[in-house]
């Protein structure tokens, strides 16, 4: 493993490196499902700048982890904490398994639980929110399985092909994350 921060059963989280920018841009270009950055071609240069800038502030307002396979260090996606507020102890989470063959196999939840462990136990955050674009029903179901509770909807968040769509907003407290993680671990043991 290269520079791990959080280690799970099959994956680990590490700080993003400049070399990840090319993979992120390629995944975004090939995306067919989650519409990263509202389906606008993203630049490797912009991703490099974003990674560089994320390390300039201390403490950081934005933390992004590379999600890598333990067996071969392959980069399969990212999970991040945005808008971190160290006084109110809040943040927003995001996740994106950019490699389609690793979707639907439990890698996303495993990465999310590691991210939440980092947020709640390492940064001592109190509550986390997440937002899901409404048509992405898989993500909406996933965050609720991870313990998030519905907090409302942002109205007319985006328009695609002439139809306004809302964004669904969720939040999660530390105790809810602990309970959800135990349930998830129990399900994993049953498999």
């Amino acid at each position: 493993m290269r520079n791990p921060v959080m280690i799970g059963e099959r994956i680990y989280l590490r700080p993003e490196e400049l070399g990840d920018a090319e993979v992120i841009a390629r995944h975004a270009a090939e995306e067919t499902e989650t519409f990263f950055d509202r389906r606008f071609p993203s630049s490797q240069i912009a991703h490099e700048r974003s990674i560089r800038e994320a390390y300039e502030k201390e403490p950081p307002e934005y933390i992004s982890f590379a999600v890598c396979l333990r067996e071969n260090d392959r980069y399969i996606g990212l999970v991040d904490l945005m808008d971190i507020d160290y006084v109110n102890r809040t943040a927003e989470t995001g996740s994106w398994i950019g490699t389609p063959e690793y979707r639907g196999s439990g890698y996303g939840p495993e990465a999310k639980y590691l991210l939440l462990e980092y947020a709640f136990d390492h940064l001592q955050l109190h509550v986390i929110m997440s937002h899901v674009w409404e048509p992405n029903t898989r993500s909406a179901a996933a965050v609720q399985r991870q313990g998030y509770r519905p907090a409302g909807r942002s109205i007319a968040d985006d328009n695609q092909a002439g139809v306004w769509r809302d964004a669904l907003i969720f939040d999660i407290l530390r105790d809810e994350w602990l309970a959800a993680r135990e349930e998830w671990r129990a399900r994993q043991r049953e498999r």
Binding site: V87, N88, R89, T90, H126, V127, M129, E134, R149, A151, G152, R153, S154, I155, A156, D157, N159, V163, W164, R165, D166, I169, D171, L173
Partner: protein, 185 residues
């Protein structure tokens, strides 16, 4: 520098000027200390023409005293407003309420944004009353989001949804897309 069209009952809004660096604690976003060099660095990094993030100062009408600031992220469709009120002001709720009365007609009706979001603490009675009087929709409640001495309060997201883009009957509890489809049928 007062923007005549952004003047309310007790406050007005204006763009940042160089001398605001001497009052950074009043307007600068964030909870940490801000002095003049930090404000100058902020001007250099953040205050640029044509940026999606804009910053306005909140001043009292009668005295021109700087009592706060706001950050406004906006593109051609959406706006997102966050207020900062100077830590010594004991009428913070009234200041935010008056700012809301200025901002909603400007962003929703004049700038024609589809939706503008205002984050308001659940214990900010004056701002909540202003939001409801202006017809804003309570869209999101984030639990225990804001730390207060000895306790926490929820954060409410009130949204000014533009009826020219999203008809009033489509704003609220269910998906706008579902309602739109139902309405079209």
């Amino acid at each position: 520098m007062r923007a005549t069209y952004l003047t309310g009952d007790c406050i007005y809004l204006r763009g940042l000027v160089d001398t605001d660096k001497d009052h950074a604690m009043a307007w600068m976003p964030g909870q940490f200390l801000a002095n003049a060099p930090k404000a100058e660095a902020y001007f250099k990094e953040k205050v640029k023409f044509g940026e999606r993030n804009r910053y306005l100062v909140i001043c009292r009408r009668e005295t021109d005293e700087i009592v706060g600031g706001l950050s406004l992220w906006m593109d051609s469709r959406h706006g997102y407003v966050r207020f900062k009120v100077a830590p010594w002001c004991d009428d913070a709720g009234l200041i935010r309420a008056d700012a809301l009365r200025i901002l909603v007609p400007w962003l929703r009706d004049e700038a024609d944004l589809v939706n503008t979001n205002f984050d308001i603490a659940a214990d900010d009675r004056e701002a909540i009353a202003a939001a409801e009087e202006l017809g804003l929709v309570l869209a999101v409640r984030l639990r225990e989001w804001i730390a207060r001495p000895g306790h926490r309060v929820d954060q409410l997201s009130y949204q000014a949804v533009n009826p020219r883009w999203v008809p009033v009957q489509m704003q609220g509890q269910t998906s706008t897309s579902e309602k739109q489809e139902a309405s079209n049928a």
